[in-house]
Amino acid sequence: MAPIDEATLDTDTPRTMDGREYPRHLRPYSKFDEPLLKVLAANEEATFDEVARAPLDARTVAALPRWLASAQWRGLIAKHSDGSTRRRYTLTQRGRRRLRDLRR
């Protein structure tokens, strides 16, 4: 694991502790924050399939894999996996704040 350097989270370029930068091709996916953060807010934790089954439009569902990656880079969600069970995702405090800001 190479966790995100917290000091870079509110910048344009989040970085991991080993210096890797938020990939530029993931930046457009922040436009899917509101619908997808809402789904995660409604569930304590969710798998990919549980999020994909929510009432979302086709474009949002297709964007889900890349959005999950983008949201992890921006510290909005956390991924949980022990390697033998399916990954689960939870909303972080930063993710809750982002959702509140989007709803204003």
């Binding site: 989040p14 990939p23 399939d49 894999p65 890349r66 399916r86 990954r87």
Partner: protein
């Protein structure tokens, strides 16, 4: 998918063809594993890679309906309303990344596949699969893929090139981050790139892939046709390592001993 929302049934519940992106993959070596002494162990590994890692590719109510028989898996992405500009790009792009995650999960568990991704009319409902997109995807897998790669058909490739117009800089597009062009001009899915999509350290995944490919190269050393397939994967793996983590040679596959060997006719 409920009958009411099923895009493959018309208003009166009759089967209908729907425009879809369709993925057809053949898992290599599965038949041999099924007949081996380690069949039960192989089944558990395969099930885990398909159902318990990134997502469940065989879930009944998935937005990407799928069917699997023996070593063949078919997954579809219907073009859903609102149709029109962007629908083909959305379906094809969405299925491309699903295919990439599938290929990555399988590869790090020691399963390699060859496949085709096509765009066209298709029907999948309760075990019945039918349509021109299935035929094209099968033909791509059978004739064009050759190596353990998933290749895109003409219409699917065109949809991905057209999607580039949505981005200010095509080099920074999601398409450019997931597709490569092989030296034979074939567009294929760059699945190892997904290891760099998330913040996790990509190195453990590359090490697992390196070890899986090395095992296959050793296993098939005396079977030229099979060995060539994994030689391609080794070249692909090393190209990704050199592009993304140059200098970290411990992640690459040692191909120095992989030249062809010839023996005298009369020993």
């Amino acid at each position: 998918m409920s009958a009411k929302n099923d895009p493959f049934l018309d208003a009166s519940g009759q089967p209908q063809l729907t425009r879809c992106a369709v993925l057809y993959v053949d898992l290599l070596g599965v038949s041999a594993l099924a007949e081996s002494a380690s069949a039960q162990q192989s089944l558990k590994r395969l099930d885990r890679a398909l159902r318990s890692m990134y997502r469940d590719y065989l879930a009944d109510d998935s937005p990407w309906p799928a069917a699997m028989f023996s070593d063949t898996l078919v997954v579809a992405a219907p073009l859903l309303p609102p149709l029109g500009k962007g629908a083909a790009e959305t379906a094809t792009g969405g299925l491309t990344i699903q295919a990439a995650w599938l290929q990555l999960n399988l590869a790090v568990n020691g399963f390699f596949l060859r496949g085709g991704l096509a765009l066209g009319d298709f029907h999948i409902h309760e075990g019945l699969l039918f349509g021109e997109a299935l035929v094209e995807a099968y033909r791509l897998e059978n004739s064009a893929a050759i190596h353990p790669r998933i290749v895109l058909g003409e219409a699917a490739t065109k949809a991905q090139y057209e999607a580039l117009s949505f981005y200010g800089d095509p080099e920074e597009s999601p398409q450019n981050a997931l597709l490569l062009v092989d030296q034979d001009g074939t567009v294929f899915i760059d699945y190892l790139e997904l290891l760099f999509d998330e913040p996790d350290d990509p190195r453990p995944g590359l090490e697992a892939h390196r070890d899986a490919v090395t095992t296959e190269l050793k296993t098939h050393r005396n079977h030229s046709r099979n060995w060539d397939k994994y030689r391609w994967v080794a070249d692909y793996h090393n190209a990704v390592c050199e592009r993304r983590l140059p200098g970290e040679t411990h992640l690459t596959i040692d191909t120095s001993g992989m030249d062809r060997r010839f023996s005298a006719f009369v020993p």
